[in-house]
């Protein structure tokens, strides 16, 4: 509410009842086709990663004599220059990429919460320092920093890579979460909770967090996307362990063996499409969360309803 409006003077009541139907977020999410599509694609990849040994049994790195074979009935996606099955590598590669993506994303989000929410809630000097820190880290470009760090680490292992990505991936989220915390903190229902005797932790746990959940999830998804992109990029540059099987290393070897100049497009396309699919899936989920919390942005089909809301607003 703006501070100038004394009376909800237009048809606010109607607007509120309508908008609030969207408030039961989970139901809204399940009914949201965009979000469910994204979620399903994402879960498909998670399943692929977990079930890799059953879906594609064998050693994905096993070298054979069948080099650079285009897709055929035996090798559905062809083979690499070392005769490995691209399909197997793609399936197994899901594991490393998702492992790094998910854990680095989660870790970075945790950092964002601690620094953003913690800073904003503490206020004062703590907040000033936290804000300065995140603002500085936002302008320091992440990938070059990661390249330097992993170079020092000589082919970073999975753990190191997760740490490095998380280290560069938190500031954006911290900034977003901070401003949300600040706005929630000054809201009357939070003041009311404090005045009714709720302690600091109680306010955070019972009032702030439930209201921030959708933003935190959105931020987590965004960070996972970032982490997957970063992992693939570093692997592509050969800065990780080049002997693991991941989408990034596949592209690294493809590029090393000049796959494209040999016309071996089947080696390049699958990992990229997978990355694109996961990224797109996460973007879809994120968008549906956005739509549910901010109905104005919705694009098609049911846009009428949303425009109606806008009209009444």
């Amino acid at each position: 509410m703006t501070e100038t409006t004394d009376i909800p003077g237009n048809d606010l009541e109607l607007l509120r009842t309508m908008r609030s139907r969207n408030n039961q977020s989970w139901h809204a999410f399940i009914r949201n086709r965009t979000g469910m599509t994204g979620m399903l694609i994402f879960l498909l990849f998670v399943a692929l990663a977990i079930l890799a040994p059953w879906i594609a049994p064998g050693n994905p790195s096993a070298i054979t004599m069948n080099i650079l074979i285009p897709p055929n009935s035996h090798y559905l996606l062809g083979t690499t220059a070392e005769g490995q099955s691209v399909l197997m590598q793609t399936i197994w590669g899901t594991r490393s990429t998702l492992l790094v993506g998910l854990s680095a994303g989660a870790l970075a989000t945790l950092l964002s919460i601690i620094i953003g929410v913690g800073g904003a809630y503490s206020g004062g000097l703590v907040d000033d320092v936290a804000t300065l820190f995140s603002n500085i880290f936002i302008v320091i470009p992440g990938i070059p920093l990661m390249i330097v760090l992993t170079t020092y680490l000589h082919h970073a292992g999975v753990g190191a890579m997760i740490l490095v990505i998380a280290f560069t991936g938190w500031p954006f989220g911290a900034r977003v979460l901070r401003s949300q915390t600040l706005s929630l903190r000054s809201r009357d229902f939070v003041r009311a909770a404090r005045l009714s005797g709720e302690g600091t932790w109680g306010v955070v746990r019972r009032e702030l967090f439930p209201n921030m959940l959708s933003l935190i999830i959105a931020n987590l998804l965004g960070t996972i996307m970032y982490a997957i992109g970063a992992e693939v990029s570093l692997q592509f540059l050969g800065l990780g362990n080049i002997n693991t099987v991941s989408w990034g290393t596949m592209l690294y070897w493809a590029s090393n063996y000049q796959a494209l100049l040999n016309g071996a497009w089947w080696w390049i396309i699958p990992p990229g499409v997978c990355i694109g699919l996961i990224g797109g899936a996460l973007a879809l989920v994120n968008r549906s969360i956005d739509e549910i919390s901010n109905p104005q942005l919705a694009m098609s089909g049911r846009s009428k309803k949303r425009r109606l809301r806008r009209k009444l607003a």
Binding site: M1, T5, D6, I7, P8, E13, R16, T17, R19, S20, N23, R187, D188, F189, R191, A192, A193, R194, L195, S196, G197, E198, G199, G202, R206, E207, P210, N211
Partner: protein
């Protein structure tokens, strides 16, 4: 008016609150304010935006600390309440109702939780579920009937008036002595306001709660209040029994406020046009009366010196050089 011989619940003695603006200037939000609130009394603090009434509420709730002066609850200085249990004890006795019923309820909590949680915090009930009886009784008391129908509702399922009733129930849940109500009806539809005002009056009658009712609306202050305090730019300028202050306003500012209330009885009558300069056009204030730049009867004295309180009636006092003291009224 409820006359009480008890000691006041809450008192402010010469309280000032100064903020630092970013540009290095000082903002005197509250200046030299003294007031008392007695048990079962409804005191109205009347003022416009920027008058310092919200800061006063924050000082009373302990979310701001005074720069000068003392806020005390039953004789105890608020500044000395430090321990968690003492703070809890204070929260148990002094509660607040906010202006915006759309912002003061967490949209994710049910009515039952919102009302029951303070009871649980203060150990008035063992748990929210086991306190359902008391919560339902309270909901009925604030006019949400049948209460069981409201218990599991979320704020979005309620109208503005119903939300404000929930907010009142939350404040009354801990059986406080005093409730600070910050413009509790100004954001509600007019047809719902009377009901909320009635509820406040009932709470005073049945539970003996005292209220500090903060408003800019003189008419509702007259309706609900025992006493009215008029505040302008951080200073109290008039104080007295509600009826008396509105019928016989002495301070030029109070007079302007009374004049400004829309009055259907005046319809169609030609009117003298008082040009009211906007607040931001007035000069920076010195040590004098803050109303000086707008005051039609101001003198040079008003610019430099803040007038002291003058009694114009038994319990009616004014801070204005033009106010004739009580004794002179009697002689003339």
């Amino acid at each position: 008016m409820t006359e009480s011989h008890d000691a006041p619940i809450l008192s402010l003695e010469h309280v000032s609150k100064t903020f630092h603006s970013g540009k290095g200037t000082l903002i005197h939000a509250v200046r030299d304010v003294s007031l008392v609130i007695n048990p079962r009394e409804i005191v109205c603090l009347v003022g416009e935006s920027g008058s310092g009434k919200s800061t006063t509420a924050n000082l009373i709730m302990g979310t701001e600390t005074p720069t000068q002066g003392v806020v005390s609850y039953r004789g105890q200085n608020l500044a000395q309440i430090r321990t968690r249990s003492a703070i809890l004890d204070y929260r148990r006795h002094v509660q607040m109702i906010f202006q915006d019923p759309y912002g003061s309820l967490n949209s994710l909590h049910t009515v039952g939780y919102t009302v029951g949680r303070p009871m649980q915090i203060h150990h008035l009930v063992p748990s929210i579920n086991r306190g359902a009886d008391q919560i339902l009784r309270l909901l009925r008391q604030v006019g949400l009937t049948p209460p069981s129908e409201y218990y599991y509702k979320l704020p979005y399922q309620l109208s503005g008036g119903q939300r404000q009733r929930v907010a009142i129930a939350r404040a009354l849940a801990v059986q406080p002595d005093l409730v600070v109500a910050d413009e509790p009806v100004s954001m509600l539809d007019v047809s719902l306001r009377a009901g909320i005002l009635q509820l406040i009056l009932e709470a005073r009658e049945s539970a003996g709660v005292a209220f500090l009712y903060i408003t800019h609306d003189l008419a509702s202050a007259r309706y609900i209040g025992d006493r009215i305090l008029v505040m302008y730019k951080g200073r109290l300028c008039e104080e007295g029994p509600a009826e008396e202050v509105i019928a016989h306003p002495h301070h030029p500012y109070t007079q302007a406020l009374v004049e400004a209330v829309p009055n259907p009885e005046r319809m169609g009558q030609p009117e003298e046009i008082i040009v009211t300069p906007d607040l931001n056009e007035t000069k920076v204030l010195g040590s004098g009366c803050p109303y000086y730049p707008l005051c039609p009867v101001a003198t040079a004295q008003c610019q430099d010196t803040m007038p002291e309180w003058t009694f114009v009636q038994d319990q009616h006092q004014v801070r204005c050089f033009n106010a004739a003291p009580l004794s002179m009224h009697h002689t003339s």
